[in-house]
């Protein structure tokens, strides 16, 4: 019978490494998506993903399924991303180094790539918690409550974070809006 993620995690706590492998395979994509969208650097994003799963492995003997494993994973990845940013940044700047976008196809037209760059730049300009709230909402589909659990704030505070983030993004992305 197929185990739930929470059952797998409890099994990891008892030393079941096959269960850990299953969890890594199932959740590497969302962990990567969040880390890469947030940090933008592939090497840093991979470090965060690896550290997240190692932390989960360390904590497995103490794991209690009070929330879904999915929420727990997002919590760990979010925390590592924000901590990483806090350690790395001297100050906020709009002048971020250009990171090559491997997802860009050779056939992609210039306008489409400009739009993508503008969106990424706009996201990068947000405060870390605002940026993470936007990523978790719009790319991972988390509810306000789940976002709050991941970031460590209330659902009401998430509403405020998203409101301020979107207001800032509306200003920066105004040139991209279709008439």
């Amino acid at each position: 019978m197929k185990r739930t993620d929470e059952e797998r995690m409890l099994a990891v706590g008892k030393g079941d490494l096959d269960a850990f492998s299953d969890l890594v395979l199932a959740y590497q994509r969302p962990a990567w998506n969040v880390a890469h969208r947030f940090l933008r650097d592939p090497a840093e994003a991979e470090d965060v993903v690896q550290n997240a799963f190692l932390k989960i492995l360390d904590a497995a003997p103490r794991y209690r399924p009070t929330a879904s494993f999915r929420t727990y994973l997002y919590q760990v990845v979010t925390r590592l991303c924000i901590d990483h940013t806090e350690k790395m940044r001297p100050e906020y700047t709009d002048n971020l180094p250009e990171v090559a976008d491997p997802s860009a196809g050779l056939g992609e037209d210039f306008a489409a790539r400009e739009e993508k760059d503008a969106v990424r730049s706009a996201l990068d300009s947000l405060l870390p918690t605002q940026r993470m709230a936007v990523i978790l909402r719009h790319y991972e589909g988390l509810s306000y409550t789940e976002i709050g659990l991941a970031i460590g704030v209330s659902a009401k505070a998430v509403e405020g974070l998203l409101g301020r983030a979107r207001s800032a993004l509306q200003t920066r992305l105004a040139p991209l809006k279709k008439d």
């Binding site: 490494l17 969208r37 690896q50």
Partner: protein, 172 residues
């Protein structure tokens, strides 16, 4: 509802985070308010632009690298004896118990060990370099003496079988 009540909740409304009642009240206001409707459309447009941004594919081999790193972290448990594992399990369980229960558990564990030692002593008494005579008498302590000469009183004692019990009328 007034515009000042609706605008701060537009994000939650768009995200489907409001109750059915409140969503309905906001929808009714939007139907009659072009200004708030323009704000809503602007918000929906930004969300559309954001959601069109594609994700970067997961790097090849990421899961394998994570698992390899995990294997390096796991301590080798093959050398841990069953007693060691039992002690490790007991310690872990103790940490989760309330203080009084923990005290009782430790006392019970110590009592179990003590009983085990005492019973073990009975079943497997310590080897005292026991010397037994031909008649089966315990000669412990006599090993320090040289063997009794053949015609000595000592030899005669050693050769004598053990006396029968008083109930059997050993003395006649």
């Amino acid at each position: 509802m007034r515009c000042t009540e609706v605008l701060p909740r537009l994000d939650a409304y768009v995200d489907g985070e409001l109750s059915a009642y409140r969503s309905r009240r906001i929808a009714e206001h939007l139907a009659g308010c072009p200004s708030c409707r323009r704000q809503l459309e602007s918000l929906q447009e930004v969300i559309r632009i954001l959601q069109e941004l594609p994700a970067m594919p997961v790097p090849d081999g990421l899961a394998a690298r994570v698992q390899a790193a995990a294997m390096q972290k796991i301590p080798k448990t093959e050398s841990v004896s069953p007693v060691g594992r039992l002690a490790e399990w007991f310690t872990q369980e103790l940490q989760e118990m309330p203080a009084l229960v923990r005290l009782a558990a430790c006392g019970a564990a110590l009592a179990a060990v003590l009983v085990g030692v005492l019973v073990g002593e009975q079943i497997f008494p310590a080897n005292r370099n026991q010397t037994v005579s031909a008649a089966g008498q315990d000669l412990s302590g006599l090993e320090w003496f040289s063997a009794a000469p053949p015609i000595s009183v000592a030899a005669a004692c050693l050769a004598t079988p053990p006396a029968s019990s008083p109930a059997e009328g050993g003395a006649r």
